[in-house]
Structure formats: C-alpha cells, structure tokens
C-alpha cells in the first residue's frame, strides 16, 4: 500500500490520539472492575461508570475514525471495483472520498447543534453523577470536526489528482485490498512473534 502525502502528516498525530483513547479504554476497564468487586464484596457501589463508558465509546469512535481513515481501514467492498477499467476506478475512488467527506461534514454540522443545545438547556445526564452533557459532547464534537476536516482534505486531494489525470489517484485512494489488509495483519503477527521471542529470551528460567 502506497501512502499518500496527507496520511504521512495525519497518521502520526492520529496514532498518538488513538493511544490516548486506548488509555481511556484501559482506565474504564479498571474502573468497571473495581466497581464490580466493590459492589459484590463490599456492597459499596460507585455509580456512573456505565455512563462514563458510553461517553468513552462515543469519543473514541470519532477520534479513531481519523486514524482508520488514514490507514484506509473504513470498510469498502472492492470485489466489483477491481473488475472495472482504470478510468472507472478513478471515478469510483473519487466518489468514495468525496462522499465520505460529505458524510463526515454533515455529521459534524449536526453534532454542533447537539452541543449547542446541551449548553443552552444546561442538560445534565440523568445519573447520580449529574454530568453536564456539554463536557463529553465537546470532546466528541472536536473528534468529529477533526474527522470531517481530514476527510475534506482527502477529498480535495483526490479531486486534484482526478482533474490532473494523475495515475496516483487509484494507488492512494483505492480501497485497501485484501492483500493490504493481510499484509497489515501478518506484519502485526510477525511483530507479536518477535516480541514473544524477545520476552522468552529475557526469561532466564526458560532458557533451556
């Protein structure tokens, strides 16, 4: 898979954001586990973890969308696309990028209203924490707007390549083929194996 110039900029930033999101998922797991143990063993409950869980999911879903976009990980069905002529592939790849940008922009626009209404009506969650809803929604909207901006940048670049008749359009913005997905999965697998091997060597007791 050949990486386009926009992804080269977006990927490292989006990756860092994804790692931060990962920590949120880990902390959530710890909080929920403590809550279960507290509830069962000490009959002491910390209410609200399920609401926080919902916020975490909503936020990581939009923040992660940018990284997935840079990695061409959003699902496309390529079976008939690969049968088309190069010219039609160019048209479909352009349409895919433009339609994604339109979709993300519309979502961001409507998302803005969600936040503004929560602020205007001072909405609070109907849970014991009484979280003011604008707080999680602000983070959610930031993720959504960033996703829309990135999708727009991809669409603009695809359009530019299309107008110029640049052959790189299909290489940059074609769907990740099964082969690409496979390579990604296998590289990850090889990394895991290497890590496991390292860890094994680091274990003195296992040397034999």
């Amino acid at each position: 898979m050949e990486e386009d110039p926009i992804s080269r900029v977006v990927e490292p930033v989006a990756r860092t954001a994804a790692i931060v999101c990962g920590y949120a998922v880990l902390l959530l797991s710890l909080a929920v586990s403590v809550e279960i143990v507290g509830r069962k063993l000490f009959s002491h409950s910390f209410p609200g973890t399920d609401d926080i869980g919902g916020y975490v999911l909503a936020i990581i879903a939009v923040v992660g969308a940018s990284y997935t976009m840079a990695k061409r990980g959003h699902t496309r069905v390529d079976i008939f696309l690969v049968m088309m002529s190069t010219r039609w592939q160019r048209v479909m790849n352009l349409l895919a990028m433009v339609s994604m940008a339109a979709f993300a922009s519309f979502a961001a626009w409507r998302g803005t209203t969600v936040l503004l209404e929560s602020i205007e009506f001072q909405s609070v969650a109907s849970n014991p924490l009484q979280t003011p809803l604008w707080q999680p929604q602000l983070l959610w909207l930031i993720g959504l707007v960033l996703f829309a901006l990135i999708a727009l940048a991809y669409a603009a670049h695809a359009l530019l390549l299309f107008v110029r008749g640049d052959p790189r359009l299909n290489r940059y913005y074609g769907p990740a083929s099964v082969q690409d997905e496979l390579e990604a999965e296998l590289t990850a697998q090889a990394e895991r194996a290497a890590q496991a091997e390292q860890a094994r060597q680091a274990e003195p007791g296992e040397a034999k």
């Binding site: 990962g22 929920v32 399920d50 990980g73 979502a107 890590q195």
Partner: protein, 434 residues
C-alpha cells in the same frame, strides 16, 4: 402505510452502492437520508446529530472496544503456542491426529476472543509450522484452520452478537448462552469430518509423533489454564448475574493484562500496539453501526417494520420457507460482502420480518452468526481464506477453498439442526436466565 416497493428499491440501492466500492458507512447513511428526505421531511434529517450521539453513547456497545482489546492482549500474550502443544498431547491419538488440534485450539481461542479473523491469524501462525514435514494432506490442514477459526464468533464472547443485541434490543447475555451448545456442536461436527475422512482414506493423515510421557503431558495441562480461567470469569460473572456482558468484558481486559504481566510478555510498546488496533477497529465498526442505527430510526418512523410485518403475515409463508429463502440470500450476499457489514446492513429489513413470523430473536441471532461464519469462508471474499493463505505463503488459494468445503457443509448441517431443534440454541439461555 408506506409502499413496500420503496423499501425494496431502497434495499437494492443499498446493496448496489456498496458493491460499487463506496464506503459501507456512507452508503447506509445515504440511503437513510433519502428515506428521511422523501418521506419524513426536515426534522428527521436535522435529528441526525442527536441520533449519532445516542447511537454511540451506548453501554451495550462499550463491550466492542473492550473485547477487541482483550483479544489483542491475548494474541500478544504468547500462550497460544503452549496451549496448542498441550491440546495436541491429548487430541493426537484420534484418527487424523494433529488436525484435531487445529479445531480444538480454534474453539478454545474462540472462547476468549470475539473475532474470527484474529482466531485464524493466531492459530494459523502456530499451526502451519507444526505440520512441516509430516505429510498431512495440505488441503485438510488449511481447511481445519480456516473453518475452525470461524468458531471465533459463534462461541462466546462474540463481537457480532454484541452488535446484533444492541441493534435489536436482544439480551447479549442470552445470545452468549445460546451460542455455547451450537459452538460445541459445530466443533464436534468439524472433528467428525476429520475422523471420517482419515478413516476412509488414511493417507490424508500424516506421521504421528510418539506421545510424550504421561507425566509431562499432565504437567503441560497448566498451559490450558489462562484461556480456561478467563472464560470462566468472563462467562461466569454474566451467568451468576454479577456483571452485565459489558462489565464482564472489562473484567476480562484486566485479567488478560495480569496474565500478560505474569507471563513476562507485557511492555508499554506492546500495550500501545494493542491500543492503536483496538481504537481503529472500534472506529471502523462504530462508523457503520452509527449509520445503521440511523437507518433503523428512519425506517421505524416511515413505518417500514410494520409494513414488513403485515406483508409477512399476508404472504402466509411458514417460518421454514422464510428461513430457506434467507439462507440462500445470505449465502449469496456472503460471497461478496464483509461478514459484519452483511449482518448490520440486513438487520433493519430482516429482523421485522422474522419477528412477525414468530421466530425467536435470540435463536435468529445465532442463525445470523452462523451465516456470517459461512461468509468468512465462501470465495471470493472470505477473509479467513486469505488470512490462512497469507500465513502459508506457498501454493494456491484453491487448496484452502477446497479444504474448507467439507466444513462448509457441516455449517449448513448445523443450520438444519438448529431449525429442527431450536432448543440447541434456546435451552441454555432458558435454564440460565429463566
């Protein structure tokens, strides 16, 4: 009441645009927008933001990132090769020898992982080298791995079941319980294929290695502990009513982390890799799921579910005929759609139909998951076929496809068994949850 032809045209458009290579999430969004604009007007269109927030701020779906993270930790935790070796100690004496270990190890990994592709990649990397120089029939080796791995989504936990449960308001705990017996049954059917094939044509099975001394085999049983303990905690906490499926996933993540540390496989770098994959996969699933929830919302306001239900009762077809039609329909769709996109995209239309005919939603969830399993190994787009071929790095993918065929027949047999004895799926949730 809405004209059903509009719904049919919309559905055809949905599948058509997907196959043209547009993003699946966008296509679902676009079709629901068309419905909203033509039938409902501006308020339903403007409602999109609220619906989006509501669909993703959903505690049932929080289980998705948790199970993906749990699976990632397990894959990198490095106990799969030991688990494989220990299982082979006990399964080797069966006719077909090591082939049974592929199926058994897949089933065991499936019991802690919610994804079939992850199962195929993990078991494939351990299993394929184990067959080097043993003269097993390569097609049967590849078939057992590719087909065995599909158990990943049938044996709980299962990401596909979580999404089905969230979209149809079906209890995920019940779906999990319902998947256990069909999952074990399918494991047994797969093993039966190997036994019959190797009994009929002994040359299919390769050289058997001498069994390890009993003491060593007993000592190695320890290697089966990590997946067993995890399964017992995750499923047990749901069964005892201590935790919801989402909460049990959180417990599983913490335990998997402890196991990684205990086995010396933990590092910050490894954890970050897990995080990135988790967030990326979650974002991919949630973008499609959020669009599908909006489609559900629009169709609901348009009255499509009631119209479909009326249509189904007027048609007077028996549930049996409907299921036969659906099975053919899903087999065809599964040839070219991604398994998850296939489930999510068809639920809004198919679910009202089957509930109108009195088919149990929990039972239908299991049926749909088996259909998704079939989609994972039907060419040309069966993902598991490619994963296994990619690990093998030699020969033709046709070998993998031919090798999975007998197992494909067993999956269809499982569907028939489920239709004849619905209690295969429904008995366990009934006795567990009343």
């Amino acid at each position: 009441m809405i004209d059903l032809t509009a719904a049919v045209v919309g559905f055809a458009l949905l599948i058509g645009l997907m196959t043209l290579g547009l993003h699946v999430a966008f296509v679902m969004f676009a079709i629901s927008m068309l419905g909203a604009i033509f039938y409902l007007g501006t308020p339903a269109v403007m409602e999109y933001g609220t619906q989006y927030w509501g669909a993703t701020n959903n505690f049932v779906l929080v289980a998705v990132p948790l199970f993906v993270l749990l699976g990632e930790l397990l894959v990198r935790g490095g106990f799969t090769d030991r688990m494989y070796r220990s299982l082979s100690d006990w399964l080797n004496p069966l006719p077909g020898g090591l082939l049974h270990t592929n199926i058994g190890a897949s089933a065991m990994f499936a019991a802690v992982s919610g994804s079939s592709v992850a199962t195929a990649a993990t078991i494939g990397t351990v299993a394929i080298p184990a067959f080097k120089g043993r003269n097993y029939d390569p097609r049967l080796v590849l078939g057992t791995i590719a087909a065995g791995a599909t158990l990943g989504i049938l044996i709980p936990p299962s990401i596909n079941m979580i999404i089905y449960g969230a979209m149809t308001n079906t209890s995920v705990g019940r779906l999990y319980a319902a998947g256990v017996i069909p999952g074990l049954l399918l494991t047994g059917l797969f093993m039966a294929v190997v036994v019959v094939a190797c009994w009929w044509k002994p040359s299919l099975a390769g050289a058997k290695s001498a069994p390890a001394p009993l003491g060593e085999r007993l000592r190695r049983l320890v290697d089966l502990l990590p997946p067993t303990v995890l399964f017992v905690v995750v499923m047990g906490s749901i069964y005892l009513g201590w935790a919801t499926p989402t909460e049990s996933a959180a417990l599983g993540v913490v335990m998997a982390l402890v196991l990684c540390i205990a086995y010396g496989k933990f590092s910050i770098k490894m954890m970050h890799e897990c995080f990135v994959t988790t967030v990326s996969v979650t974002a991919m699933i949630m973008l499609i799921a959020a669009a599908a929830f909006y489609l559900n919302f629009v169709l609901g306001l348009m009255g499509v579910p009631q119209a479909l239900a009326n249509f189904a009762s007027q048609l007077g077809t028996s549930p049996l005929v409907m299921l036969a039609v659906l099975t053919v329909f899903y087999l065809i769709l599964g040839c070219f759609l991604d398994a998850l996109a296939m489930i999510i995209g068809t639920i809004p239309i198919v679910f009202p139909l089957i509930t109108a005919l009195g088919i149990d939603p929990v039972w239908f969830g299991i049926y749909l998951v088996v259909m998704a399993e079939l989609a994972l190994i039907t060419p040309p787009v069966g993902m598991n076929l490619y994963v296994v071929q990619g690990i093998r790095k030699e020969g033709l993918i046709t070998d993998v496809i031919v090798g999975t065929l007998p197992f494909l027949v067993m999956m269809l047999l499982l569907v028939v068994l489920l239709v004849v004895w619905p209690d295969l799926a429904l008995w366990l949730p009934r006795v567990s949850f009343g």
